[in-house]
């Protein structure tokens, strides 16, 4: 091949590259302009929708909450026409991190929602995402001193529902149902889980400030495990017998185990239960009035809403509609509203499960911070009572 023909080919290649580059730039600019909300996006890397892949990473696929995470992420992806990949962490940080890294290595711009297996996973995932030019929102768990605003725009946000509000809500419901007097027991989740700790803190705060005659006689961490909650409840039934008037659990999975233990002991009709999550079996138990209307209080939040809010926030950053570094603190480390429900109003909230697509439509109109009933209510980190 002669020098001249080589030069011609180089010129052609350069030309093609220029055209391709400009075309791509045009696409991204168009995307930015068409979705602009007035935020300055000139310095931000903006990604075309066609280059985006959604990723929703959950701790496992069988817990109802995590299954709902997947449902919400898939509904949003379908609505926006963006492909989605689901990461099943199988309860393991190692599995979670390696699967996420494999997806990041594929080359597309990753827009990710991660419900982390443990707090320590957040920096690893965020740094890998940042290196790959992706955008991530973490839900529920991260190290206390690791803030999105300190990392940069790729760690778009950390989001959660406040645990203290959850604990206070259920404590009040339980105390009221037993006439403000009597012995109760508590079954938190994994002992070092921040989510569990904040819920317990809310419970203890409500009891100490508003219900002095309600005595929390035993607190037995049950690791979010229904089987362990069943066993611990058996032991506590033996220890306190019919003196137990109420049972507080940090989530509905453990409540399933606790209720079965009291049922097997013939005490279900005499004891009241409160918990967090309003899972489908809980809804059924409340509808049927199981155990003399044993369940008296729940907090309502949904896995499908968490994943949709998280993904949509990261998506807005990816397409340039928001610039994370220009957002106020409450939109980087966000606390979302959690509803306190009981037998009188649970149906109103439970009905939302029947129309996830309708709620996603509202999310696209109102944005991630203003869609009822999960509106932004404040900035984290969550402050424990008395601190």
């Amino acid at each position: 091949m002669s020098l001249k023909s080589k030069a011609n080919r180089l010129v052609k290649l350069f030309g093609i590259a220029m055209v391709a580059g400009l075309t791509m730039a045009g696409c991204t600019t168009a995307a930015t302009e068409s979705t602009s909300t007035g935020t300055e996006t000139t310095e931000q890397k903006v990604v075309s929708k066609d280059d985006i892949v959604f990723v929703a990473s959950v701790i496992n696929t069988t817990n109802p909450y995590f299954a709902a995470n997947i449902a919400g992420a898939q509904a949003l992806a379908k609505k926006l026409g963006v492909p989605i990949e689901i990461v099943d962490s199988e309860g393991s940080s190692q599995v979670q991190n390696s699967k996420i890294q494999a997806i990041l290595a594929k080359g597309k711009t990753v827009v990710m929602f991660v419900n982390t297996v443990s707090s320590a996973d957040a920096p690893i995932i965020v740094e890998a995402t940042k290196a790959a030019g992706g955008f991530v929102t973490i839900w529920w768990n991260k190290p206390d001193d690791y803030e999105p605003k300190d990392v940069g725009d790729n760690f778009v946000a950390f989001q959660k529902h406040p645990g203290v509000s959850s604990g206070e809500c259920t404590a009040d419901r339980l105390a009221e149902s037993i006439g403000g007097k009597g012995k109760i027991i508590a079954l938190p989740g994994v002992q070092d889980s921040t989510t569990s700790q904040t819920r317990v803190a809310g419970l203890e705060y409500a009891l100490s400030t508003r219900w002095p005659d309600v005595e929390l006689v035993d607190v037995r961490p049950s690791d979010w495990d229904p089987e362990l909650a069943y066993k611990n409840s058996q032991d506590l039934i033996t220890k306190y017998g019919a003196d137990i008037k109420g049972v507080w659990t940090a989530d509905d999975g453990m409540q399933i185990g606790a209720m079965k233990a009291f049922e097997d002991a013939g005490l279900l009709g005499q004891v009241k239960f409160v918990s967090d999550g309003l899972y489908p079996p809980t809804i059924e138990d409340m509808r049927s009035g199981r155990g003399n209307n044993a369940i008296v209080g729940e907090t309502f939040h949904r896995g499908w809403a968490a994943s949709a809010i998280g993904l949509y926030t990261a998506y807005l950053a990816a397409i340039g509609e928001i610039k994370p570094s220009e957002l106020p603190d409450e939109k980087r480390h966000s606390l979302f509203e959690i509803a306190c429900v009981g037998p009188e109003n649970f149906e109103e909230f439970a009905s939302l499960d029947n129309d996830i697509d309708g709620w996603i439509d509202q999310l696209l109109v109102n944005g991630p911070w203003d869609t009822a009933p999960f509106k932004l209510i404040g900035a984290g980190p969550e402050v424990l009572p008395g601190q």
Binding site: P226, I237, I256
Partner: protein, 341 residues
């Protein structure tokens, strides 16, 4: 000790002495474990009188049931010099298969006894696969059963799907394990039945004697005409069957199905087998010893809660008490803790 006139020990006296020592060692460990168990029962009863109540006795029976059932299968496998780590996966698969085929909140279809049989068959198939791969492909049992653990969990996860938790809707089924028969929960009677079968199998059958022979020395056992592969496959299948039984009872106890219904079972069962005195290297030990180990662990965990020990200290304290109990009970036979084949 018998001496001859010259002051030296005769060969027969020496043999008798060794025999006495072996017999003493054989009895010393279970006796010491039983003594430890009674000591714990007395201490916990003093700390909380409700510990010795009939209600708590029933609790202990119910809580010991699953580890006892799984422990029998695990003991047989360990006596071979192998190990079965697939317990939790098989429990998840079998428990979920049982719930989904029984009357449950997801569907109206109720296959009755067929559901039970299908769940048990699930366990047998997993166990057979374990045994076949170990014997025919010559892969160490640790690796095979570790893999099968996750295959079982994966199978259970597929069965579970993405729908809501399947809840048993027949109250007779969901209350079966806690229903009392002759004053004890049905789950406990099931465990007693399995333990008796395990003891009979091990002591009175040719299969049991073959298991011990294989565990002692597989080469000699094979050369003496024992069909080693067939025995191993049978034992793994039995262990799978017992894991399935445990999975079904665990699902009934909870009244619902979940792939993780066996969570934590492995790390109660294997220590219970070893604490009871079964050698990880195989060939030494037995089902009743495992039952003793299970009771010790169950009493310890239950007693610490009733004694009001803070959850923050409970694991540490339980571990320390266990170490002390083992040092006290098993000093004479500490050589049994050899690495598994």
């Amino acid at each position: 000790m018998a001496n001859n006139n010259s002051g030296t020990i005769s060969p027969s006296a020496n043999t008798a002495s060794i025999s006495n020592r072996i017999n003493w060692r054989r009895l010393a460990e279970p006796s010491a474990l039983i003594a430890t168990l009674f000591a714990l029962i007395i201490i916990f009863s003093i700390l909380n009188p409700r510990f010795a109540s009939v209600e708590n006795l029933r609790n202990l029976m119910d809580q010991a049931a699953l580890p006892l059932i799984i422990g029998v299968g695990a003991t047989l496998v360990i006596l071979l010099g192998s190990i079965d780590l697939s317990i939790e996966g098989i429990m998840g698969s079998a428990g979920l298969a049982f719930v989904l085929l029984s009357a449950n909140s997801r569907s109206e279809s109720d296959f009755g006894l067929l559901a039970l049989l299908a769940a048990l068959l699930t366990g047998i198939i997993f166990g057979l696969l374990n045994g076949l791969i170990v014997t025919k492909v010559k892969v160490p049992s640790f690796v095979v059963t570790l893999g099968m653990w996750f295959v079982g969990l994966g199978f259970a996860t597929v069965l579970y799907g993405t729908e809501t938790i399947p809840v048993l809707t027949n109250p007779e089924v969901s209350s079966w394990s806690s229903t009392l028969t002759f004053g004890a929960p049905n789950s406990f009677w099931a465990a007693v039945f399995v333990v008796i079968l395990g003891v009979i199998t091990l002591i009175l059958t040719k299969t049991g004697r073959s298991i011990m022979a294989i565990g002692n020395n597989e080469v000699i056992a094979r050369n003496s005409g024992i069909r080693v592969d067939r025995i191993k496959i049978t034992v793994f299948a039995l262990a799978g069957l017992l894991s399935a039984v445990a999975g079904i009872i665990a699902a009934i106890k909870l009244g619902s199905g979940s792939p993780s219904v066996g969570l934590g079972s492995l790390f109660i069962t294997i220590p219970a087998v070893v604490i009871g005195g079964t050698a990880l290297a195989g060939g030494k030990g037995g089902v009743l010893r495992t039952a003793l180990g299970v009771l010790l662990l169950t009493v310890l965990n239950n007693g610490l809660i009733l004694a009001g020990v803070s959850p923050s200290f409970q694991s540490g304290l339980a571990g320390a008490i266990l170490i002390a109990a083992i040092v006290f009970a098993a000093w004479s036979q500490r050589d049994r803790l050899r690495i598994a084949k």
